[in-house]
Subunit: 195 residues, 2 copies
């Protein structure tokens, strides 16, 4: 980061981080480019040098979250072996993505579909949900899932657990997301009851 | 509901339902009493006949959610038997509360603590979380929970699952919350893996 005339300089990355933090605090709709400029201590035109619009900042932010999640699914796409193991891999990878990209995923989960960018994000979320549901279905077809569970409901509850991290996980509590992923997978696959 | 001069009349209950729906759609901060009056087709003073402020509407709404959840915990408070069974009872009861009071719980989960009413709601949520964590601890002490799981994390993940209902559960999909509670408890206690 370089300073010019006593003011901090931002690249797109550091600007995006501040923007996402502000969107999460005040709501995307409730944050103007004026607010963002004030927070950054730069002019609006200095922001527009990096991005054409607030909408584009949102697009970059939610894509950061979604690209991470889709990359995890892509990893297992052509993996041999059982679907339930691929599902576990996806669950672990998703916990890692949430921990590493927490502000981005937090913003993604609050998107309600008021704009074209938001609707595109919701469409990708639905696509992701379908991929998870399909994995659960495959695992069920392979006989690895308890009978009588609805795959779509299972997929939603699994990601209800994972997504709840945006509500309560704080990086300062130690950044060992492997342990957290262990707990999520223990609960999801084997339950908390001692066998 | 009676009509006066061609306009619908509201009692506090029906007024509250419309208000909560509007708060959930537009955000509590983004909804004015003017907006609410327009939506109801009545004057602002007609609203003030029932409640002194928007804040009071929020308080009534989030308490509807919180009272339901605390009533479930109170039910098991003096119940004999094992903590893990009480935990299961609380989980089932909470699913029922979420299904029956969905708009109220949805609003509660979006509260961020900007006002006194919101901070009071957050304080009650934390108290509820502690009660759940204590139940998990007791169940662990009684040897009914898998070793090596952190009780606070387990409590948060369990309610991550339950609370996710506000994101995806739609009453029209059939109102059989017993089946939904079964799925949540199967996952939570025994996991989805076929034994």
């Amino acid at each position: 980061m370089t300073t010019k005339r006593g003011r901090p300089g931002y690249d797109l990355e550091s600007l995006l981080l501040v923007a996402v933090k502000l969107f999460n605090e005040r709501g995307y709709d409730g944050t103007s480019m004026e607010d963002l400029a004030r927070k950054l201590g730069i002019t609006k035109s200095a922001i527009y040098y990096h991005v054409p619009s607030k909408d584009e900042l949102l697009r970059l932010a939610v894509d950061r979250a979604l690209d991470g999640l889709f990359a995890v699914v892509a990893e297992v796409d052509n993996l041999p072996g059982r679907a339930i193991d691929r599902l576990e891999h996806v669950l672990r990878g998703s916990v890692a993505v949430l921990v590493e990209r927490l502000p981005f995923v937090t913003l993604l989960l609050r998107v309600r579909g008021n704009t074209k960018v938001e609707r595109a994000a919701l469409a990708r979320r639905r696509e992701f949900d379908h991929l998870i549901t399909d994995l659960v279905k495959q695992a069920e077809a392979e006989g690895d899932v308890r009978e009588g569970l609805d795959p779509a409901t299972v997929a939603r509850l699994l990601f209800g657990m994972v997504n709840s991290l945006t509500e309560w996980y704080r990086p300062r509590r130690g950044s060992d997301h492997a342990e957290l992923a262990d707990t999520v997978c223990h609960m999801a696959f084997d339950g908390i009851r001692r066998p």
